[in-house]
């Protein structure tokens, strides 16, 4: 850990060449954008001026409707993560602990995991209706696979000594899970939850763009249908910032930043 201290304890100067280059790239992109918006080379409003996007961003962030829809999407993603995450952890522990079950069922999870989950949306609508429940169900389905696979892989990497310690204390299954498996698998679980969060978010938002009357996905597709491009850009910017931030937060809470450096 002393190494970690040395690595992180010497921050780069505020105006390092890297910072300057980053600033130059950002300014360059913004300048090109502004030039294109006034050039008339592209269809009108496809590239709106930065001022229009800024105004739309301000309007969006000061409007109660946006926060209501953000709340709806956050709740849907939260439920999806909770249900899919718990089911994924349970399935992962089961597969990780039992070699036979892993050989029998893990290939299905492995190959089903990367298939496009949005194609299940028509089925979810039939099962759960057009309300938020079908979005939660799609998010749950999306989130289940990465969590289950990550936990199953993490389970197999647990130090055998820890498991033997648990058995030598005559721990029952529940105690083994709570005292040995889960603490030893903190990082794979957080990694899985991180991946799960990303795909649950995408699943929920795509479902909202397809069929809904509330949520951020609905607002995005509404902005598209009335061709309010500055508003659409503003929403995409906020959404990207929120999703990247949420991803980084989950990683930081789980201490993933510390794994990379040790």
């Amino acid at each position: 850990m002393a190494e970690t201290g040395r690595l992180t304890g010497n921050p780069a100067p505020a105006l390092s060449p890297v910072t300057l280059l980053r600033a130059a790239i950002i300014l360059g992109v913004l300048a090109i954008w502004e030039f294109l918006s006034h050039s008339g080379w592209l269809y009108r409003d496809v590239v709106p001026s930065l001022l229009a996007i800024g105004r739309a961003l301000l309007e969006l962030l000061t409007h109660g409707e946006y926060y209501f829809n953000l709340g709806v999407t956050t709740a849907e993603v939260g439920f999806a993560l909770l249900v899919g995450g718990v089911a994924g952890v349970a399935a992962g522990i089961l597969l990780g602990a039992n070699r036979f079950l892993a050989k029998a069922f893990e290939p299905y999870l492995y190959y089903l995991g990367p298939t496009p989950k949005i194609i299940f949306f028509p089925i979810m609508i039939m099962y759960f209706g057009v309300g938020p429940e079908s979005k939660v169900a799609l998010g749950t389905l999306s989130c289940f696979f990465p969590v289950a696979l990550s936990v199953a892989a993490g389970m197999r990497q647990i130090d055998r000594v820890l498991i033997r310690v648990g058995y030598s204390f005559r721990a029952n299954t529940w105690q083994m899970v709570m005292k040995i498996y889960l603490p030893a698998m903190r990082h794979p679980i957080i990694n899985g939850v991180r991946l799960g969060l990303g795909v649950a978010l995408i699943g929920v938002l795509l479902a909202e763009t397809k069929l809904s009357n509330k949520g951020i996905g609905f607002l995005i597709i509404q902005a598209y249908s009335i061709f309010d491009m500055p508003r659409m850009y503003a929403m995409l910017i906020v959404l990207f910032v929120l999703s990247i931030g949420a991803n980084a937060l989950v990683g930081r809470l789980g201490g993933l930043h510390s794994i990379k450096r040790t």
Binding site: L21, I119, F120, T209, M232
Partner: protein, 257 residues
């Protein structure tokens, strides 16, 4: 590995259990639906789903749709390979650029890029290019990151061999760095193609245009339940075969691992 362990690991019992569980699941669903315990207007009986495979394949021109999705995926794949590998090489060549932009590319890899599809619809219209560009942009970050990783991971001894032969920077790249990084670059291309396929089928479904994704949307809107389920099974089958084929190519490229 002992002989007993080797025998156990090759035993067909686990695979048979998996298949058996799947068959048991379908049989249970069939009984539940036929007995009326599960509403057949929500879940069609599996026998009806399997029976509709032939109809969907013939009447809905599945082969043509499959070719359309494959063409979109391969077009995105070619663009990914060209721009992703070139981007990675460029970032490796100019260290300052790499230090400035690598975290941005990594952040983009976790961003929901597919949600930009309404924007792409505005730019490219409701056409195959919207789908291709969506697949391309969503899959670009892993190709760039894996290219950088592959080139940076070239063993020092290989680089020193190149130096001892007084190779020019261009020769050093084409004779040493690139061949050494090729397996890792292919991992990136494989990941990119998987991301591209997921996004392409997803966007086809969402904008109701193109190949296999549109087929599901079409059948669902016609409330052809058995057909919808059959089409979903077909898309899953195609995706799984696509991933397996990519894995085989990757294993062929890096036999040592």
């Amino acid at each position: 590995m002992t002989a007993a362990t080797a025998r156990r690991s090759r035993s067909p019992l686990p695979a048979a259990t998996g298949i058996g569980a799947l068959v048991a699941f379908f049989a249970t669903m069939e009984v539940l639906v036929q007995s009326g315990m599960v509403n057949r207007f929500i879940v069609p009986p599996p026998s009806e789903i399997f029976g509709s495979f032939g109809r969907v394949i013939v009447e809905e021109h599945v082969f043509g749709r499959f070719l359309q999705t494959l063409t979109e995926c391969l077009t995105a794949g070619v663009m990914l390979t060209v721009f992703g590998v070139a981007g990675g090489v460029l970032m490796h060549r100019f260290k300052l650029l790499q230090q400035a932009c690598e975290t941005w590319v990594a952040a983009l890899a976790s961003a929901p890029i597919v949600l930009m599809y309404p924007l792409f619809l505005v730019i490219y219209g409701r056409s195959a290019w919207t789908i291709i560009m969506m697949g391309f942009f969503a899959a670009l970050p892993p190709v760039i990151l894996k290219t950088i990783e592959g080139i940076s991971g070239t063993r020092k001894v290989l680089i020193n061999v190149g130096r001892s032969f007084n190779l020019t920077p261009s020769q050093q790249f084409w004779k040493i760095l690139f061949p050494s990084a090729l397996p890792t670059i292919f991992v990136g291309i494989r990941l990119g193609l998987i991301f591209a396929l997921i996004n392409i089928v997803g966007v086809e479904f969402l904008i109701n245009y193109g190949g296999l994704g549109q087929l599901i949307n079409d059948l669902a809107e016609r409330y052809d339940l058995a057909g919808t389920y059959a089409a979903i099974c077909f898309v899953i089958l195609v995706s799984v075969l696509f991933f397996m084929a990519l894995e085989k190519v990757e294993r062929w490229l890096r036999p040592v691992d």
